[in-house]
Every structure is written in structure tokens, then in C-alpha cells.
Symmetry: C2
Subunit: 448 residues, 2 copies
């Protein structure tokens, strides 16, 4: 028996779409290339300490209604990110201690940053989230890199460093890799810079009890037909349906949803070929580069020193840290992100070299105690063939204006979901879920 709909990709987008379509009475099959569900979320149990950690996406916030509603629906719970104490900033070679949003930089730098971020966010508010290519001056905003804009508008090197840290932390990329229009669009998805980067009230407020991977696991448990280790190798569409040839047999349905990063579809043979705008869009959405590193300690020693565990650093390779200890507060876990240029520098290094480099970064921020964890774990998302990188796709100059219209437009019986297609919180877990719900509604409407 053929299902009504096949969903390709068992990440949050695909599984949400499958759940909604199943709830509406459709027969749905999910095909997943990996041997697990969850996509860019993945909760691992560490072999030595037995601690469960998220090596993929992990935070959610009250400003992200789609993911919060789904967590509630699935009977899962969240707990707050630990953020009490002083933050650290290592900028220009000096470690600063501070509370609140902004490191205590010299007044002229703070004034420059305030002006710059105000200007940037005001521009961001002019971008329609679901159609950035219709923004005023879209062509001009899309013809330059975010880096060009920073160089032109930031007067102080420390201000430039702060904006580059924002790009690294939020886009897992350097500002040279994306267009200004994309930087603005993405920022607007979070309602501004703080929406992306802060805890209470914002995108880093909460973590999922049991790990973010449990969202996908519960979704998958509620479905009847999820097939792992089934990588799609070819797709053929005709008047009555779509046939997918996979590494584990052939499947056919009346409609297909691809819920994977678009770059993974570049080079996948479609018959008939995809329309030019869609095909070239898929060539133009490379994934960010990020390595997630965690070090586990007997106890969160930084808390005893009055530190929150949150830090930013412009000296690499770790650019951002957070306290990632479990809810009971022990063992202590420091989480560090290596992003963009720093991730690329460590791409060819082995795990030991990366571990040493990351621990040295933590040591410069939190002192020598940070050099002696009882366990570490790292995940380089750029080596994951069925993600291609994290957190999500980057839109370089010319892509939104030249190809944006093709991002969600169905091609006959083929529909598109995935975090990259979200109309709100693109590239976040919440965006993935929104895209799954949107594509389900699209299919239900199409069938009357």
C-alpha cells in the first residue's frame, strides 16, 4: 500500500509535518537517511559520566511560539538556562567582568555600538520576513556583504568585533559570507539582536528536559511509518504521484515533502528536472560551519566564583560559552561554540587538537580549572553528510533577491519544508516546526 504522502527527512520539520498530516487522516511515510531521527538536534548520553547532552540545537524561548506549543503538546517540559552571576568578555586581549547585556567597554565604543545596532535593527524592521526580496532597497541590501556594511558603519574595532561575534554566534558564519539583506532578515526573525542572543524572555531562555532530541523522539513515536537508513537517491514525478528511489527500496506517494537542507538536494536527479529557479536556489544555500564543544567538570566551579558561565571572546577558537549543566546543577558543564572562520581553521584538525584548542579557550576565560574536565564531547556539524553544516543555510549576496521566490513554491506534487523555509525563526527549531505545520496546511488545502 502506497502512503498518501512521503516526508523526506525526520528532523523537526519533517516529523511535525508528518504528525499534522496523520492527525488529519492522511497516510504518511517518513524516510530518513540517517540511522536516527532528529536531524540537527541530537541528544547523546556521554559514555563516562552518563550525562545526557544536546550536541545539536538545544535552546527555546517564549518568543518562539511554535516550538513552545509543540513541547507542551508532547508532554515535555523545559527548564531555565543558568544565567546567574557575572558574564565575561575577552575582547582585545582583556577579560572584562560584567552583568547584563553589554560588556563594560570604553564609552565611545559603547556609543558606537548603540548607534550601530540601533541602525541595524531599524533597517531589519523594514524587511518582510516571508518575502525579503520585496523589502525597500532589497537589491541594494542584497548586493553587499554584511561585512561591507559593518566596515562602513562601525567606527571602532571593538564594535566590529562585537558584530562579528553576533554573526558567528547566530549565523555560525563570518559576516563576509552573507548578504546584508540576509543578516537583516534573519535578525528580524528574532525581533532584533537581543531576541537571538539573550536568555530570559528570549531565544536562549530554556532548555528541554531530557534533551531537545526528545521532541523528535516523541514525534516519531507517535507515527507509524518512519523508515531510517533510507537516503533518497532519485525522484521521479508524474501526473499521479512521485516515486522515490532510496538506498533501501523504492517508495511512491501522491505527494512528497522534502524537509531537508536545500543544499542536499543540489545534484539529486529529479525527473522531470526542477524548474531553473528552484534548482539554482539549491546550489546557493550553503550551510554554516560550527563545532559544538562541551567540557564536563565535577562541579560548576565558575558559579562558586560568581560567574554565570556566559562569555564572549574575540580571540578564538571558542567565541561564545554558556553554562550547560543539567537542571540539578551538577556535574558542571561548560559549552563552547567554535564558529565560522574559527571552525574552518579547525576543520582539518583531529579531535585531540580541537579539544586542546577549545580547552585553552575556556582556560583563558575561566582559569586553569577549566583545563581539567572529567569528560569532553565535540560535534563538528560540517562533517555530517545529511546536514552539511549547522545551524542552517546562509544566503549570500544576490540569493534572496534572485531566488527567494522559489524557497517555498511547490513544484507540482513536491513541497518544501525545513528550517530554511520558515516564515518565522528560520534556521531555529521553532522555524523547523513552523515550516512543518505550514507545509501540512498547504497539502491539506491542496487536496481540498
Amino acid at each position: 500500500m502506497n502512503p498518501d504522502i512521503i516526508v523526506v527527512g525526520a528532523g523537526l520539520a519533517g516529523l511535525t509535518a508528518a504528525r499534522r498530516l496523520t492527525q488529519a487522516g492522511r497516510q504518511v511515510r517518513v524516510l530518513e537517511a540517517r540511522g536516527r531521527v532528529g536531524g540537527r538536534t541530537h541528544t547523546l548520553r556521554l559514555p563516562q559520566t552518563g550525562l545526557s547532552v544536546d550536541v545539536g540545537g538545544q535552546w527555546v524561548g517564549p518568543n518562539q511560539p511554535h516550538v513552545m506549543a509543540l513541547i507542551h503538546e508532547l508532554g515535555l517540559e523545559v527548564y531555565p538556562t543558568h544565567d546567574e552571576g557575572q558574564n565575561l568578555a575577552l575582547i582585545g586581549g582583556k577579560v572584562l567582568h560584567y552583568r547584563g547585556l553589554i560588556p563594560p567597554l570604553p564609552p565611545l565604543v559603547l556609543a558606537d555600538y548603540a548607534l550601530l545596532s540601533h541602525r541595524f535593527e531599524a533597517l531589519a524592521r523594514t524587511i518582510p520576513l516571508d518575502a525579503p526580496w520585496t523589502a525597500p532597497n532589497a537589491a541594494e541590501l542584497d548586493a553587499q556583504t554584511f561585512e561591507t556594511w559593518i566596515q562602513k558603519n562601525a567606527r571602532r574595532p571593538q564594535t566590529r568585533a562585537l558584530m562579528r561575534l553576533y554573526a558567528g554566534g547566530v549565523f555560525s558564519a563570518s559576516p563576509a559570507e552573507m548578504s546584508l539583506l540576509h543578516a537583516l532578515t534573519y535578525t528580524a526573525h528574532g525581533g532584533g539582536i537581543n531576541g537571538h542572543t539573550l536568555t530570559r524572555g528570549h531565544a536562549l531562555q530554556d532548555r528541554v528536559l531530557g534533551g531537545a532530541g526528545s521532541i523528535s523522539q516523541r514525534l516519531a513515536d507517535s507515527l507509524e511509518d518512519v523508515r531510517l537508513n533510507s537516503a533518497v537517491l532519485r525522484a521521479e514525478q508524474d501526473d499521479a504521484g512521485v516515486t522515490l528511489h532510496t538506498s533501501a527500496g523504492t517508495h511512491r506517494a501522491a505527494h512528497v515533502v522534502f524537509a531537508v537542507p536545500p543544499t542536499l538536494l543540489s545534484g539529486l536527479p529529479f525527473e522531470p528536472p526542477l524548474p531553473a529557479r528552484r534548482a539554482q536556489l539549491q546550489q546557493r544555500l550553503p550551510m554554516g560551519a560550527v563545532i559544538k564543544f562541551m567540557a564536563v567538570y565535577e562541579r560548576p566551579f565558575w558559579r562558586e566564583a560568581g560567574l554565570s558561565g556566559m562569555a564572549i571572546s574575540d580571540s578564538g577558537p571558542v567565541a561564545v560559552t554558556l553554562d550547560n549543566s543539567p537542571p540539578q546543577g551538577h556535574p558542571g558543564v561548560l559549552l563552547g561554540f567554535i564558529e565560522g572562520d574559527e571552525a574552518r581553521e579547525l576543520m582539518d584538525a583531529d579531535e585531540d587538537e580541537r579539544r586542546t584548542a577549545a580547552l585553552n579557550s575556556l582556560g583563558r576565560l575561566f582559569g586553569d580549572e577549566a583545563l581539567w574536565p572529567i569528560e569532553t564531547v565535540q560535534r563538528d556539524w560540517t562533517t555530517e553528510p545529511f546536514s552539511g553544516g549547522c545551524y542552517g543555510a546562509l544566503f549570500g549576496p544576490g540569493v534572496w533577491t534572485g531566488y527567494g521566490e522559489a524557497l517555498r513554491a511547490p513544484v507540482g506534487r513536491i513541497h518544501w519544508a525545513g528550517a530554511e523555509t520558515a516564515r518565522v525563526w528560520m534556521n531555529y527549531m521553532s522555524g523547523a516546526i513552523e515550516s512543518g505545520e505550514r507545509v501540512a496546511a498547504e497539502l491539506l488545502a491542496a487536496r481540498g
Copy 2:
């Protein structure tokens, strides 16, 4: 019997590699996804007039030693591009007649263009062709778009228009789509702007008698094992060789050469996965957008009016024209290129709409007689699934500096060829051939 080496892609790069390896005594198999050889070259016989035309790459010049030597080796001949008479330029709404290189624009525009192109070419001379990421200030040159540089350095709108025409004609892209470092690198491959854009002594000097497709045809005829309609769907490498699963069976060899546009490999499952830098490079090399249009007339009427058939226009959709009549001079053929933004605007149009738009462009340049051809042909390379676009890949901001080192670096027993990997004349036929010869030498050296 397994061959020693499998070459994936029967374009000029793959076929040249196969020929050189065969000549050195290796058993070589070529796998080609299409039902024809030639890749981005394709010589077609028109159904009505019976004329043979190149709907893909077609020009060669004496500054391109690799393609000239191979043409000679294969017993083929070239003939000169027709370029006698006055050229036309439609810039800012006015049609100008001129001889030589540069349209007779106002003196201040000409001075501005002279200064701008001098500055651009001087910068281009600082780029090492085979390692642009090592150029002085590479990071700075790679952090901005070519468009940003034009806006900053060109003082007159007509000068900007000329540079955009250069980008369209030579990169099949808008200057916003590539980094300045890429624009400089590519320009340096031709020894400057003129090397790419002129006839006598330069890249447009000659055409191949019988069509450029005959180069690939003769190469294929000299090989024993070329298999068409064999699209590679998965690749597995182990200590002893590489296994390729294709749409027409499984093949194995000690070494494999991929000689296809890198973007087509993004999403192809490799086991073990490709190293991160190679995998992410493949996500970051989208293809240009170009539609090649030809109109056939009883006679080359423009020649009678003293015109060369060469024109440039900033009013679209056709941006560049050339006389593409056969060597005997009849019938007359006008060739028009629709590139970059103009090609994108016509992506969703049907063939009739494109034909009308293109003919109207020719009419504005060459008069009403151009509106009434006896036959037309068009090829939108963006709809070709096994090319993904033409003429070749674009390097956006950050790509050369972040990923350039992975462009030619073998991954175990897997080697890389194709026009994108050329050390000279990248993305040209000559570059494809150079890359085939380079990869053959690499494999022969590796085996002692």
C-alpha cells in the same frame, strides 16, 4: 574486469583525463549521466535550416594553449570569428556605432572607465591563479562583492554599466553574486579584461570547424569504454578502491576522477563522508545563469550595413551579441546572450516569451530585419540538471579564502577535475582540458 580508473563526466575535462590515462596504458571507464558526451559544449543540427550550431561553449583563442593543442592533436580545425565592421553599443538608451574596443562614450566616462579598468587589472595581477587565497589582502578582497567595489570605484553610471556588462558576459552573473577576489582571479586567468572579451589574439578569436562538440566527440571516439545514461548516485571508498552505484549498475576501480561541476556533488552520499572542507566547498559553488539565443537569417544583413554583428546593450534581455554565421558566411546567424539578472527574469517564461524578448533586443540593435529570422534556437543552461548552469561556478564572498585549498586536493583515491578546478582559464573549455591533463598527471604520479 574492473578498470584501473573511472572518470565521472564525459565533458572536456573527463574525456581529456581519460585520453591521457589511456595513452599511458591505464584501463579507463567513463561514466556520463547524460545521453551524450560534451557536457557544457553541445553542437546541434537545427531542424529547419539544417545548420550546425554550438548551443554551449564555442570560442577558443591563441591565448588558450591547452585547447588549441588538443584541437590540433585531434585533427580538427578552427576558423576566425567574424568581426569586421562597426560594433554597436546600446547604453543609456542610445545606440552608438564604433570600431575597436570601447564605445564612443563621453570623454569623462571614457577616462573613468580607463582608470577603473586599469586599477582592476593591476589588482588582478597580484592574484596567484592557482592559489588566490594567498594573494596580498586576500581576506579583504574576499569579504566584499564585486558590485561593492564597482560602486565604490566607478564614478559614472555608464562606467558601472560597462563593468556589469563585463560581469554578465564573462561570468554569466551580476557583480553582486561574486566576491571581488573571484572577479579578480577570473580576470587574471585571461590576462585582463580584453583577454576574455576580444576576438583577434584573445579568447573569442576562433570557432571550431564542425562545432565545439566535435572535440568531445573525437575524444570519446578514441576511447573504448564510455557509458552514457549512467548517473552516479552513491560513492563508497575503501582501502583498495572506490565503488560507484549508478542509475545503470555498479562500477568499481582503484581510483575515481569526478569531472563535473562541484555543486552536482553536494548531497551525493559519499562513504566515508567527504572531509568537511571539501563537502562545504561543494555547497558553495553555484553555477552562473545564461541563456544562449541564436536567430538564423537568409543572409547576414548587418554585414551589408557595415556592421560586425558585435554589440553590447545595457537594456536587456540580450546583453551581448556576436555574428555566429558559419564560415561560408550564409545563412546569417546572430547570437545573443541573456545573462545573470536578465536570465533570472526569463527563467519562468516559456520559450515563446523568451524568443520574443530576445528578438526585440536584436531589433533594437540591428533594426526591424532582425525581427524576422527563418529559425531560432535557445538553450537555457540553468535547466540542465547535469550542468546546473553555465558557464561555470561562481565563488561568492568568503569561498576562495575559506575553502579554496580543497578545490583540487584529492580525497584518498578520489580526484577532482572539471573547468572549475583549472589552474589557467578556469570555467573555459581550455581550463576544462587543462584540468583533465592535470588530474591525469596526478594519477600517473600517484601510481609511480
